[in-house]
């Protein structure tokens, strides 16, 4: 029935040999194809910057560029009127397409902005003859109207809402009729001549000038929107230093230098230490320096890190799991230092915190209970486990680097002290946690880290006898719950939209309570609200500082949040990258200032 053993063995061997040969041929083919793995740019060749994004990009429509990566992508192409100074800290706005900072009227309601002359849009088939026309203030007015158009569905409309005279009426009318009238005049947006923009505000607002830096306020040519229609998001027709030449969603973006870019110079001043670290070597030179910027979207940590190590990326953040291996004593690990890798440690403009719902009958009405929780939160451990031991313990919502931050201030109502926590809990009416119903802690994600953070909180609270039940949510479900005021306590973070303490202090403003705004804690305090309305319009100065500190004390006294950390970002730079300074938020189209020393890179890769 069966063949003899030896016969089978022979044939089997033959088969295996055949298979091996096939495999070898296949491998050879792959090898041949896989030869040149890193493309080279010679010393005389174009300067190419290589960057990775860790998250997906929607496209380039400025009106939809609310997230960091879509914003960065749009920024290279489209230009707002102003940008933040690339090097100076604290952040300062400087003109980009505007000629100077806005002239603000005495009542702080009218902004008069002069536009530079002779700025041209990129050449594009949407223009007659394919040649970019000159930029006028009508392009800004049009872009801002687009943000107000309900059909564009821009979440960034929230920033303009209620600020510009007449724009809300246009928006509301379009919501009802379904048709946005772009030709309708808006009282608050006027152009006495093509290079002068006059903006009228409904009330003085300290944050308005920051909006003029954000990508969604960048000029958009009406021709492009009407030409590309629904596909406008996949095109880029702006005045920026770079033109979009390739866009593969999910994969990569390639920009090339705009040969007709208007005269923008590398800054001549910087923050302390910038000159020493060589950031001012190109002071006063015309930008952009790099001929090409290639952005690869790499969502996984391992490939991003490997690409950085191989030199396929100029810079990289440090993945959480690689932190111990890559960073030693706040320096790149020895194997990276040997390669010339440099480090930049940057505090983020953000705060992570545990938030309480102030309208919750149990937790919201009992300040001492909240204080007990605040004293029982072991933040040192939080930092150790979840932030690689890095980050600054937050004492108030205002992060360092912003006006009103006080490095010497210690929040008296939340240091880690279990005795105090137990005492407050007893004073709150629940000695040892007795009689206190289970408290629900909502976590903002269903991933492992979110779960671990919730469990960490649960464990902390169990030490003083408070029982915590964890509920895991997806992010949209989570925010829905907060909006419906259904949470008791939850962990969350806030990152600056613009570098002003108002952006953080608004999170406690009574009228912004859920579901009307971003005061998820639903905190209400007439004194605080009054102060907030004042600091919202006050220019920086001793008066504003005093009021901000008073607000900080009010919310500390009420223990509305348990402040956790201001996070810190680690950036590693390969040795050929020049002029790179990490911006902790969306501050401008900064790639135009950076460059790569291609000769050095070539040498490095060749080694």
């Amino acid at each position: 029935m069966r063949g003899s053993r030896s016969e089978r063995g022979d044939a089997g061997l033959k088969f295996l040999v055949l298979l091996g040969a096939l495999g070898a041929i296949g491998a050879g083919t792959y090898l041949a194809l896989g030869r040149r793995l890193v493309e080279e740019g010679g010393a005389g060749g174009p300067i190419v910057r290589r960057q990775a994004f860790v998250a997906q990009v929607k496209g380039f429509d400025p009106a939809l560029a609310g997230d960091l990566y879509s914003g960065t992508a749009a920024f290279q192409i489209y230009e707002p009127l102003y940008e933040f100074h690339y090097l100076e800290r604290p952040f300062r706005e400087i003109p980009l397409t505007a000629e100077a900072m806005p002239e603000i009227s005495q009542d702080r309601l009218t902004y008069r902005i002069r536009l530079k002359k002779g700025i041209r849009f990129h050449d594009d088939s949407c223009f007659p003859g394919g040649t970019g026309r000159e930029l006028t203030v009508h392009d800004y007015i049009y872009a801002w109207k687009r943000v107000a158009d309900p059909r564009v569905q821009s979440e960034l409309w929230a920033f303009f809402q209620g600020k510009i005279v007449g724009l809300d009426a246009l928006h509301d009318r379009a919501s009802t009729s379904g048709n946005f009238d772009y030709d309708a005049p808006v009282e608050g947006l006027q152009a006495p001549d093509p290079h002068t923009l006059v903006v009228k505000l409904t009330r003085p607002s300290v944050d308005f000038v920051y909006l003029l830096v954000m990508p969604f306020t960048a000029a958009v040519p009406r021709e492009a929107v009407e030409h590309y229609k629904d596909d406008f998001i996949n095109h880029g027709v702006g005045t920026g230093a770079y033109r979009l030449v390739e866009w593969v969603p999910n994969s990569r973006i390639v920009y090339e230098k705009n040969p007709d870019y208007h005269d923008v110079r590398y800054p001549e001043t910087g923050a302390p230490g910038d000159r020493e670290s060589g950031l001012l070597a190109d002071a006063g030179k015309r930008v952009p320096f790099s001929d090409r910027v290639e952005i690869t979207i790499i969502t996984e940590d391992q490939p991003r890190w490997l690409q950085f190590e191989r030199g396929a990326l100029d810079i990289a953040g440090v993945p959480k799991d690689a932190h111990g291996k890559a960073i030693v004593n706040e320096q790149p690990a020895p194997y990276l230092r040997e390669k010339g890798v440099q480090i930049e440690i940057v505090p983020e403009l953000d705060v992570t915190y545990i938030c309480f719902n102030m309208v919750d009958p149990v937790i919201g009405k009992n300040r001492l209970l909240r204080r007990a929780i605040a004293h029982a939160a072991d933040l040192e451990k939080t930092r150790e486990i979840f932030f690689n031991g890095r980050g600054l313990y937050a004492q108030s919502p205002i992060p360092p680097g912003l006006f009103g931050y006080d490095p010497n201030y210690r929040n008296p109502h939340q240091e880690y002290n279990l005795d105090k926590a137990r005492k407050h809990l007893a004073d709150a009416g629940y000695p040892g946690g007795e009689g206190l119903p289970e408290i629900v802690y909502d976590s903002s994600g269903t991933d492992t880290t979110s779960r671990q953070m919730a469990e960490h909180f649960q464990e902390n609270m169990s030490k003083i006898g408070i029982k915590i039940r964890i509920e895991a949510n997806t992010w949209p479900a989570f925010s829905e719950k907060i909006n419906k005021r259904q949470c008791q306590a939850w962990g969350i973070a806030w990152g600056a939209d613009y570098p002003d303490p108002e952006n953080f202090l608004q999170l406690f403003y009574g009228p912004s309570s859920s579901p009307n705004g971003q005061n998820g804690s639903n905190y209400q305090n007439p004194e605080y609200d009054k102060l907030y309305e004042e600091i919202r319009v006050l220019p920086d100065g001793p008066d504003r500082l005093r009021k901000i500190h008073r607000m900080r004390d009010i919310i500390a006294e009420d223990n509305v949040w348990v402040y956790e950390l201001h996070r810190v970002t680690y950036i590693l730079k390969n040795p050929w990258i020049r002029n790179y300074k990490y911006p902790p938020f969306l501050g401008g189209a900064f790639y135009k200032y950076t460059k790569a020393d291609m000769a050095e890179r070539k040498k490095w890769i060749g080694e």
Partner: protein, 433 residues
């Protein structure tokens, strides 16, 4: 055969329809709020309402009876306005954002959204009580729910169910009888959803703001460049090795291969991906680490290799079993007894008969190849559909998830049909009727 295929294709209609109803139930009835997801941290109540209107989420779920009564609603509003006039407020004096209330023609398009705004103008705080009461009656009657645009202005509406019913009854008495207009019955979320599904118009992604149909078309090709070669190489090699195993059953070769497959199957796919990328691409430099650029063969080589390595072992194991099942059949013994050479028995008789289970287990997978391989795509930066789908799930991008589920259902049905047709080719005893 043709009749059979047509019949089977017709069967798919109720199946897909059932899937659609379930999807509708999951995403529109119990699912989260896409408007809120889109607005993110800027989700104010007003913004959410407005966006819901843009997305058609303020339409009734199943049938739009409200709108069917649009004609009579309109008449009712006009009657209400008459009444208000008699109470001392002339309708022409009622203006909303500069437009006279008489502009009720907007009701023809989206009555539910337009009317509250108009009535809202009548409800300013401080307005005479009869006027407010009448306007709130009109509002409750028309929208059947609490006010939409200006919460503070609608206090009378919220006075409780009893008041509402009383208002409703009052209103009913004075409401002129008009015939409903059935034009709008199908203006509901369900019918929009079914229509979109039938026309394969999935709308735009919430998170990415791209057209979903374009996302699918763009992502399918990169996914297929990995999965198609991977799949066929794996099945081909698997079948070959399974034959070898069966041929030399219980011999050294068979045992070695089985042993290796057991080991290979105990390693998770993630380990293949991470290990393959680290060792083969990074350490040995045989392949690019990441990317998807021309020449694409260079960039998909490693993902394909990993795909094959990971799916080979289970393939070999199951194919080997199928073949061995056949080897023990009577006809094989008969063939051998008649002196047919072993190779001929295996290749002509056994293989052919073993093809039926092989086809069953493989063809059904074919349509799903286009959905790609999530881990490979994420790690190697292939802009395919696997990562698109998972990103959508994590960011609660329901329109995308819904579209993928719908397409998945269709593919499953088509895959089943393809399997059945392949049977007919593999086994002449099966005839499709």
């Amino acid at each position: 055969m043709t009749a059979y295929i047509i019949r089977r294709l017709l069967y798919t209609i109720p199946i897909v329809f059932g899937v659609l109803l379930i999807l509708f139930l999951i995403f529109n009835v119990v699912g989260g709020n896409p408007a809120r997801a889109m607005l993110g941290k800027y989700a104010t109540k007003k913004a959410v309402r407005e966006l819901e209107h843009q997305l058609g989420l303020d339409l009734p779920l199943i049938v739009n009876l409200d709108s069917a009564f649009a004609g009579s609603e309109r008449a009712f509003v006009l009657a209400t306005l008459d009444r208000l006039e008699r109470l001392g407020t002339a309708p022409e004096k009622l203006v909303l954002e500069g437009e006279p209330v008489k502009a009720l023609t907007v009701m023809d398009e989206r009555p539910r959204a337009a009317v509250p705004a108009l009535i809202g103008a009548l409800l300013e705080p401080g307005a005479p009580e009869p006027r407010r009461a009448w306007a709130s009656v009109a509002l409750v009657w028309i929208t059947g729910e609490d006010a939409i645009y200006r919460p503070s202005a609608y206090a009378p509406v919220r006075e409780g169910l009893l008041t509402r019913w009383r208002d409703w009854w009052e209103a009913r008495k004075t409401r002129p009888a008009f015939a409903p207009s059935w034009r709008y019955v199908l203006q509901s979320q369900l019918f929009h959803f079914l229509w979109d599904a039938a026309t394969f118009d999935f709308g735009k992604s919430i998170q990415r703001r791209q057209f979903i149909s374009q996302m699918i078309l763009r992502g399918a090709v990169p996914s297929l460049t990995v999965t198609i070669p991977g799949f066929f190489l794996a099945v081909g090699l698997g079948l070959g090795l399974a034959l070898v195993c069966a041929f030399y059953r219980a011999g050294v070769v068979d045992r070695t291969i089985v042993f290796l497959t057991v080991i290979a199957m105990s390693i998770t796919f993630l380990a293949y991906v991470i290990g393959g990328q680290y060792v083969l691409a990074h350490k040995l430099g045989l392949f690019p680490v990441h990317g998807y650029l021309p020449p694409y063969a260079k960039f998909v080589a490693l993902p394909v290799l990993i795909f094959v390595l990971a799916s080979l072992a289970p393939d070999i194991r199951s194919f080997r079993t199928y073949i061995l099942d056949e080897v023990s059949q009577d006809y094989v013994r008969t063939a051998r007894a008649k002196g047919v050479a072993n190779q001929d028995v295996m290749l002509r008789h056994v293989l052919k008969n073993a093809m039926i289970p092989v086809i069953t287990s493989t063809v059904i997978h074919l349509p799903f190849l286009f959905l790609g391989s999530l881990l490979l795509e994420r790690f190697f930066g292939i802009p395919g559909l696997g990562s698109t789908m998972v990103d959508a799930v994590f960011s609660a991008d329901w329109p995308v998830v819904r579209a993928f589920t719908y397409i998945g259902a269709i593919l499953y049905v088509v895959g089943n049909l393809a399997t059945d047709i392949c049977y007919a080719f593999a086994d002449p005893r099966i005839s499709l009727r």
